[in-house]
Symmetry: C2
Subunit: 457 residues, 2 copies
């Protein structure tokens, strides 16, 4: 059984102290590439390079792919041309293209110099697809069969060309001009007779995507259909590559992290937290903080307009944070729920009336419940316990405000993300901080309108 | 090529109008189960049952699995015992167990009555694992091989028992007492000679999990290792089941939705948004709204303590929303980033000093930048444009407060989730709303302390 990856790190540190990494070659055999990469990344630069050199040719490429960009850059700088060529030769094409996209130009030049011309051409083709397209995450290394083949011939072909393919389990049946005709799995082949024809076994109704389709849409399709790979065709219906389930999982994870960051008013970064520099983190966080701070001018102006009234009835000021926070929380509950349902494709824009109707009823329940709870709280805690001079009329005004703003906040919270989706903006931006700023202003206006009428201030 | 699932719905509605669903059998053949389930779910109850009856035996089970719980319940009520048995027989065991977990007891009784005894026993065994354990998402339907087999014998075995297995591509080598000895993929088998022995080909260093391991941990391992399945062993190291990549994707999606809901102060529900009733949604949202509203008593008391001062210098009130929102946003940026990194296992508790040191520098940059921007804003917008009577000293006090509270908010935002993780709580609860309530109070205290010293109020 496999031991924990911490164990590799302990062994590696011992070797670093002794200055001898030869035992690493034998230890490495027993571990997964991801764990080896994790442990190597925790060594100092010199030990990292020395230990990496001990890896066998095949596992070197696997470990290399799993490393962080800055470690890859370090290795590329330290390896000889010959060592580098060995690593790059063993990369899958889509991994090579990803690598090249992230590394600085001068490093990329050295990699491409050490790539054979055919691979270089294929990598360049992949790099031409837009960043968020299906083309950018596909690999051209798939198994193509002909409809006229027998099962035995198909197995021969898989045996011959399968070693370098990212998956052999889903095979695609294409015409001479590479037009996609069908799909067949190795399971189907195993269950069939050796002299059966592919055309009698293949599935003709193939779920496929185009190179320019959104990569998140393709990744979500794995959730829906439980396949291991999807074929990607060009504008003329010719098969140009496949997207495999492991790449789809990476896409979903990245897209979800981006959504979460946007919901928290952060510009999405592309590196893990600890690998992002202080200044890069600052740059991702400051724009929304600044925009939201400036927008608070509106709430400031609203309060300024009521300064005299507030100065006269100072007890009203104490409720402002509670009202603003409750409005913000109510609104963000609705917006975050709707944003997530949109990104999981459980909701479409056409559902907007169902959503508003539902949120209206939920918000009335929440609003009435919170108002009553708050009324009791004011009576028991504020008046009895702390002896605050809050009149029953004032308490009623605060609670009525509370009920109104919860309803308004939930309405704003559910409609803004759906509206954003409709006009082609990212719904995730319409989350808590943005909604909070809007409902803050509305809440204050409602508060002052109600207190003016009820308390005559 | 496959047409869009909307097409099925149009056809089905046409059939419902004509009251004849026989053509559905032929149409259904050309579509994926997930799309058929989606379209059926959009029919009225009667049409849904009539159309479902038209599906062939095998595709009926596949479509059934993809449906929502309330549609499944409807169908179970409408099908005869014989029809029901046909559907249940063709379910994978883990799907059957999931189904039973979600349906009401009376429906479950009817299902179990229509299940053969061996399957019933296996389903019951699966149901005994805790809800969030690896055991609860595994299936006992895997392919087991012996180390002494040849490749040809292994292929024979796969052909014989593979049809009912969720995956045939990863096979597990076990001893007579079902102890896990190794793993071998169909790709390895295809690349080998037919008379090679399994023991010379199998990988002995197997990444495996225990039945009681957390299901999210197992699902994250798919991200890390790019495998199609992981073996699950019991306390004695005996293989009892496997978790496949499609189930892992479902788990990751559910866990992420739960995290997002918790971050937005919502108790996680288990149904899609539109399928959750109004009262259920209310129940998931009201607890945190209530707790946070009551906690706002603290901010209310702080303000009440300064009422006299605020009434005297009423211009100070107008900055309260801006200060509170900026503090809340700064804090939630840090907390959400840390929570996501913890759940992706990029961070451990041991990294806390690195995290605090980083957030300290980022927050100083943000704080200083926002203070300067706010100073200019007060001079240009508030004083020049609106003619507010804000003294330079007052502006300076506000900006100094701003800088302090951004630093404090980011500190609170990054430490609370890590602390929660350490003591075994869910870090996701320590997100925006919770952090906002805490930093609101701290911000007000800082604001009043600074204005008291600088303005002598």
């Amino acid at each position: 059984m496999l031991e924990s990856p911490d164990h590799i790190l302990i062994e590696l540190k011992k070797m670093a102290d002794e200055g001898k990494f030869t035992p690493f070659r034998n230890i490495a055999e027993h571990y997964e590439a991801a764990d080896l990469a994790w442990a190597l990344g925790r060594l100092d630069d010199r030990s990292l390079v020395l230990a990496f050199r001990m890896l066998g040719k095949e596992s070197a490429a696997k470990v290399f792919v799993e490393m962080e960009t800055d470690e890859q850059e370090l290795l590329i700088g330290a390896l000889t041309d010959r060592e580098l060529r060995a690593v790059v030769d063993d990369l899958y094409l889509d991994d090579a293209a990803d690598l090249i996209e992230e590394l600085p130009a001068i490093v990329v030049k050295r990699i491409l110099k050490n790539t054979d011309p055919q691979m270089r051409e294929q990598i360049n083709a992949l790099l031409r697809y837009p960043k968020d397209s299906a083309g950018s995450i596909m690999t051209p290394e798939y198994i193509a069969l002909r409809r006229t083949m027998t099962v035995a011939e198909a197995f021969d072909r898989i045996r011959k060309i399968g070693l370098d393919k990212e998956t052999v389990y889903t095979c695609y049946v294409v015409t001479k001009s590479r037009r996609l005709e069908g799909v067949i799995t190795v399971k189907d082949l195993l269950m069939a007779e050796l002299d059966d024809k592919i055309e009698s076994l293949m599935e003709r109704d193939v779920v496929s995507f185009k190179t320019l389709d959104d990569r998140e849409m393709v990744a979500r399709a794995f959730d829906k259909y439980d396949f291991l790979a999807f074929p990607i065709t060009d504008g003329e219906g010719r098969l140009v590559g496949i997207v495999t389930v492991d790449d789809a999982m990476d896409v979903l994870q990245e897209e979800t992290t981006e959504d979460i960051e946007k919901m928290a008013a952060i510009l999405p970064g592309d590196k893990p937290y600890l690998k992002t520099g202080v200044f890069a983190t600052f740059k991702n966080r400051i724009p929304w903080l600044l925009i939201l701070m400036i927008s608070a001018t509106v709430t400031g102006r609203i309060i300024a307009g009521f300064e005299a009234a507030l100065a006269a009835q100072a007890a009203l000021i104490a409720f402002i944070p509670m009202l603003m926070d409750t409005a913000g929380n109510s609104g963000s509950q609705a917006s975050v729920t709707v944003i997530r349902a949109l990104s999981l494709q459980e909701l479409r824009f056409g559902d907007i009336f169902k959503v508003v109707w539902k949120e209206l009823r939920v918000s009335l329940l929440c609003g009435v419940f919170l108002s009553l709870a708050n009324f009791i709280k004011i009576l028991l805690i504020d008046r009895l316990l702390f002896g605050s001079p809050i009149s029953i009329m004032m308490a009623a005004a605060v609670c009525l405000t509370l009920c109104f703003i919860v309803v308004v906040a939930k309405f704003v919270g559910c409609t803004l993300p759906m509206g954003a989706k409709k006009i082609g903006l990212d719904p995730a931006v319409m989350a808590s901080p943005f909604i909070t700023t809007i409902v803050d202003a509305i809440s204050l206006l409602i508060y002052f309108a109600i207190t003016r009428v009820m308390l005559g201030i």
